[in-house]
Amino acid sequence: MTDRQMMTCTAVDSELLGYLEGTLAADARTAVDEHVASCLRCSSILRDIGSIRAQAAQLPELAPSRDLWAGISARIEPAVVPLGRARQDIRRSWIPAATAAAAALVIATAGITYFATTRSLRPMTQKVAAAPKGGPGAQGIAQPAIVPSTATAPPDTSVSSAVSASAAPTSVAAAPAGERSGGRAPSAGVRLASRRNEPAAGPGEIAYGDEIARLQNIIKQRRRELDPGTVTVIEQSLAIINAAVRQSRAALARDPRSGFLTDQLNHALDKKIELLRTVALLPSRT
């Protein structure tokens, strides 16, 4: 290779990208063609790159080594408890929003629960005291299907073990419709705690506990796929929501007739399911 060719080879190298992309001006392209026709090195480069391009376009399709559908199917399982924001685009920005919402929820729940229970317990105690045990006054009052027992339970916010942390209620306390303190109409979706005068969930009825357990199982399986930082934030959010659930249950145990407290518990459980469902749908390692 002569000095003239070396220089020209260097020049060709700098023009090669444009040459291959077809963006070179006609005279420059002709100059490259003339050089390549007489230069073994440069013609070899062009030939090899052409071969790589041709082979790349013919690369065979690959197939996964395992069934991927099962994991996908579990993650897209429809929510048993309908969510207002179902099937929304999942973005990272939900994490601070969820934390803020959870914090607001627990503050609101704590304050309102305190206010509501201190106001409602006194008259109810008087009524109960006035009515004979097992008498007519006790009839028609729906009791909690499951008496909350989490007031003394230690907090457990681990994502992987949160099935127990949820104290997963298979049903939630029901209160007479006429005694709901809130004016909001029941949602169109099925909400177990909104059902009135039904002591327990029957076969096929939808329960928060089942949904929470199912979602937590998915999250447990996906835990290693998630970023540790994300898991930490999720656990913090779950801790806040679980605290709200515990407080609502404790208040509801003292005042099982309160429709307002029932709604509070519903709301907290809705938030929990919403968070878990969001986590179940999160892309891996985000």
Binding site: E21, P60, E61, I72, S73, L281, R285
Partner: protein, 183 residues
């Protein structure tokens, strides 16, 4: 190997899946999983990670199906989702690596190692292995352009770079591949 279904065949299942029919979505999955997996695995340089990303792609597709207007074929649409998922994954990996003070431009891990590929075509096997060993940025551009047939303008839009940057990365990838294959 399952071939992608034609757009006309997909359209009914797309409509059903968008309305929440999981069986229809499973049929779409069956028709497209290999192409999506191929893209994910080649772009990220790892079969194992490619499988995880493939799952993410179909979960995302399920989430977004109600917004799919049918302007393009379902295969094109889901392909684009796959590219975005892989690129986002790379960005996240890059952030994680920077936190750990590691080299961001690390090569692929386990994909397309010669032993893992059926020895039907030695040249193709070598090329596949060489692609897996490219630096991440060059590998992704090469796969998108020379394997998947994307144009530089499309790649630029997807990757958030200029078309010139895409061309430069592609050229770099080709020269690296040539070097690896002629070594």
């Amino acid at each position: 190997m399952m071939q992608p279904t034609a757009p006309a065949e997909d359209s009914t299942d797309v409509a059903l899946a968008a309305a929440g029919d999981r069986r229809a979505f499973e049929r779409l999955y069956n028709g497209h999983v290999n192409r999506v997996f191929t893209l994910c695995a080649r772009m990220c340089g790892s079969r194992i990670r490619g499988e995880e990303l493939t799952q993410d792609v179909f979960v995302r597709a399920w989430e977004k199906l109600p917004q799919f207007r049918g302007d393009s074929a379902f295969s094109t649409w889901v392909h684009r989702i796959a590219v975005n998922i892989v690129l986002t994954d790379r960005k996240n990996e890059g952030r994680a690596r920077r936190r750990m003070k590691e080299d961001e431009d690390e090569v692929g891990e386990d994909i397309f190692a010669p032993a893992a590929t059926p020895p039907r075509d030695a040249d193709r096997m070598d090329l596949a292995a060489a692609i897996g060993n490219l630096p991440a940025g060059a590998r992704q551009i090469f796969v998108l352009h020379d394997v998947e047939g994307y144009k530089h303008e499309e790649i630029a839009e997807l990757c958030g770079i200029t078309a010139g940057g895409s061309k430069a990365q592609l050229h770099r990838a080709r020269l690296l591949l040539r070097e690896a294959l002629t070594r």
